[in-house]
Symmetry: C2
Subunit: 506 residues, 2 copies
């Protein structure tokens, strides 16, 4: 509190404005959470109007000329916006947001909201019927609107830059391409080497696992991780997600599949990773311009860390496997922990991104990035997407989707207008291993701790090097400060080679 008392009058105004905007944005998150978890079908229409009304109010409050003047005054007051003080960075973050939002004319924003609302409905139907033609005109319109949006940010190095920047502040298309170009051949080579080996058995996972028991182990695991139940809860939703209503309320959801015990458990760990980031942003940034996260890639580095690096490790299962055997003796009593570990790490090119293993996941992302760039550049046409998609799937993973529902229609993102989002998933994978390597370097005992079910060193390290900064630093600053390097693919490749080298005896 003493910190806040020292800030200038104008800085206090910015903090108060930010508090109100944050409150209203968190209200919108409550509406969205309720819509996905609880809302009866009859509520959809009015809920749409409610969200739109709130969105308009937020936009109007934040884009007023007074706010612009306040930010300009503060910029003068503060001087160097890259100075590493909270004040400088609060102004930098607010300025960035303000400039982005004021560039977009309200009619274009409203057209975008209206278009994506209808597109989402048509995508649902198209996916259900596996008929791309239903979604095609909507996607075409979305691409046009995204192109118009990008135009507003001219000059740019690449038309995809303004979109990427919305999710990954400061990141350029050229950087992502460079990273992916290094990653692709290495990952393809690894997959080819794995394909020549005998796959491990994972049939024991594909059985009927009672949902209540799946929930017991999921809750137990993330409690040990350090998920704070006093400031969160776990629910069931068709698509697992994490959402924040503030410092004191960061919720997660998962889904329990009857015939695949892995899905819920790993998604619960994944979402808990996101949520512990949200819970780890310090209280001083509550309702503050520097609340929130650095970027989606940094967010994903946290979820992937807990889901994969930890949750799919030998040490993790040496601790938790007996508990799992207790719950599901009918499938697991004759399976050793080593067999279980190999089973959950089976590599298998598959159609659906969200079910992909660590060795194939990034291939799904590269495919999507190439398509998004093609659409934005105008070198690909929306009507050709099913064909392009299938050809690339064959090229990268050696399989072809039997229908568009399991191909180009599988993801929700484009129907919501979220072009530019996908690369952050792969960047998050890379960042997770980079952070992990540094953590292990500084804490060589950490694998032993995992094997004892202890995770406070890990959570503490992430709190110190990532969470505590909220959105104060850009993602690449976080990575540089924490690991000495921007996001780079080498550690991830080394991690995959080591892990699958052991499992597949490469």
């Amino acid at each position: 509190m003493s910190e806040k008392q020292q800030v200038s009058e104008k800085m206090q105004q910015l903090i108060e404005l930010s508090a109100e905007i944050t409150d209203l944005s968190h209200i919108n998150a409550v509406l969205g959470w309720d819509q996905q978890i609880n809302m009866p079908p009859g509520g959809a229409e009015e809920r749409g109007a409610q969200s739109a009304a709130l969105g308009r109010i937020i936009h109007e409050k934040f884009t007023s000329d007074e706010v612009g003047q306040l930010i300009a005054d503060l910029e003068e007051e503060v001087g160097d916006l890259n100075a590493e003080t909270d004040e400088a960075r609060a102004v930098k973050v607010a300025k960035r947001e303000y400039e982005k939002q004021t560039k977009v004319p309200l009619p274009l924003l409203m057209e975008f909201i209206q278009t994506t609302t209808m597109a989402h409905e048509s995508w649902l139907e198209a996916k259900n019927k596996s008929d791309f033609s239903l979604f095609q005109p909507h996607l075409k319109k979305i691409v046009e609107l995204r192109q118009q949006y990008a135009e507003l940010f001219k000059p740019y190095d690449h038309v995809y830059d303004p979109l990427l920047d919305d999710y990954e502040p400061g990141m350029k298309t050229a950087e992502v391409k460079e990273i992916f170009n290094k990653l692709r051949p290495q990952q393809v080579a690894l997959l080819q080497a794995i394909a020549e080996k005998e796959p491990p058995d994972d049939s024991f996972i594909k059985q009927y696992y009672k949902e209540e028991y799946q929930e017991i182990i999921g809750r137990y695991v993330i409690t040990r991780f350090g998920y704070d139940w006093n400031r969160g809860r776990l629910d069931i939703a068709p698509h697992p997600f994490t959402t924040e209503f503030g410092y004191g309320d960061v919720r997660i959801s998962t889904r329990y599949l009857k015939d695949d015990a892995g899905s819920a458990l790993f998604s619960t760990m994944h979402e808990a990773g996101h949520a512990m980031y949200g819970q780890g942003v310090p209280e001083k940034y509550k309702r503050h311009p520097l609340g929130g996260a650095a970027s989606l890639a940094i967010h994903e580095s946290q979820s992937r860390l807990w889901e994969n690096i930890i949750g799919r490790s030998k040490e993790f299962w040496s601790f938790f496997y007996p508990s799992l055997q207790m719950l599901f003796p009918q499938y697991l009593s004759d399976i050793s922990v080593e067999e279980y570990y190999r089973g959950i790490n089976k590599v298998e090119p598959s159609l659906i991104r969200v079910e992909a293993d660590e060795a194939t996941y990034n291939m799904h992302i590269m495919l999507r990035l190439e398509i998004e760039i093609g659409l934005m550049e105008g070198t690909m046409k929306v009507e050709d997407l099913p064909e392009i998609w299938n050809a690339k799937m064959q090229d990268y993973l050696g399989i072809t989707p039997p229908d568009d529902a399991q191909g180009v229609l599988q993801d929700v993102h484009w129907s919501a207008g979220m072009i530019g989002y996908f690369p952050t998933y792969a960047l998050g994978n890379l960042a997770s291993v980079q952070l992990w390597d540094k953590l292990v370097e500084e804490n060589p005992n950490v694998y032993d701790e995992i094997a004892q079910g202890k995770f406070d060193t890990i959570l503490g390290w992430m709190r110190e090097h990532v969470h505590q900064y909220g959105s104060k630093f850009e993602p690449q600053e976080i990575m540089l400060n924490a690991t000495g390097s921007k996001i780079t693919p080498e550690p991830y490749i080394a991690y995959l080679k080591k892990k699958y080298g052991d499992i597949y005896d490469l």
Copy 2:
């Protein structure tokens, strides 16, 4: 839709304003629902800020000078605001709301919100510790603020009038007093007559009833009533309540007690009664000035109808009792439906209002009304309330609370600043029987229908005579139109005499 196209430009402006205010108010309802059903403890502080931010926006939007001018213009355009057109009544309702809200200075409103937020916390603690002194200064402040509020509405006939009018438009303290003065001696005489008789056995209700099975019968009953699940849902909350997020989403909650099967089932029917009213307001009033309900008493007439007149009737149980016996054979297989009926209608003066039977319930309300009037007139002091409460309980019901938690601290209302609310509970009881008598007069077969598990005649009649009007008519207009009389105690007294005359052989 054709109706809407014919309205004037200014009327269209009012409808659009009302749509936005309605959206924002429904968002606030979502926040409140989530707070009571889902929110982890850590979320409380920021949720308070979110609600306050939204409340301020709603207040500002509705009380602007432009809105005042719009309403004035419309008043001129429409002429007689008591004409029975939607246009006239929409202006009347908006004018009434506008005049109320603009009378209250923003600082007083904010002080009231702040005071009641803190008072609620202190009430929870005071009730927990059964220590009135903890709550006393907060209640004192609330009474002062309510007195200041009432002053804003001078001249009035009685200082309690402006408060009562917030919940029961058009109703005067003098009217309520007159009704209660007729009711009191009759109800006291009935209770005395009952007290001389042997009470029926109800020990079979006070057993361990599995919660899941309680939920099965609750859901079954209200489904047959006609509760629309496509536009609603049922959850668990510490205090049962109904809330509306629009025409398409009217939710209820209940609580399952381990040792009293009646509590959840009757509260589920009660809340479903409220919710079916909300669901019955026609779609044309969606996001419209005439959406919502006529008043709290009319609302309560609907909940009491389904809970008591129907739910505690012989005919109802002749249909549902076999289902209940199926679920709970261990307690009920040897209990006849007649014994069960007498058991759930046992009259017993008790300490807690919400658990009171039909014969004693109104006595709890009269006690509270006398205290509220005493506080507002200044003839009673807050510090004397525990003593006054206990004396009146002894006087009216012949019992004295062992502690303040079961006495003056039992209800949440005062801590929320809701003075003027209680009388609507008793008025709702009276209105429920008045409406019922008319319905039976027009549909003599309705008891047979209940015995066959059919409720569409009842719901249809309520839709036609009550629900379809939304908030177009004042509560007494609704009663006059539907029954030929304003709210009056005679039908209720006759109903009690007949019902308990049979059960107790009076």
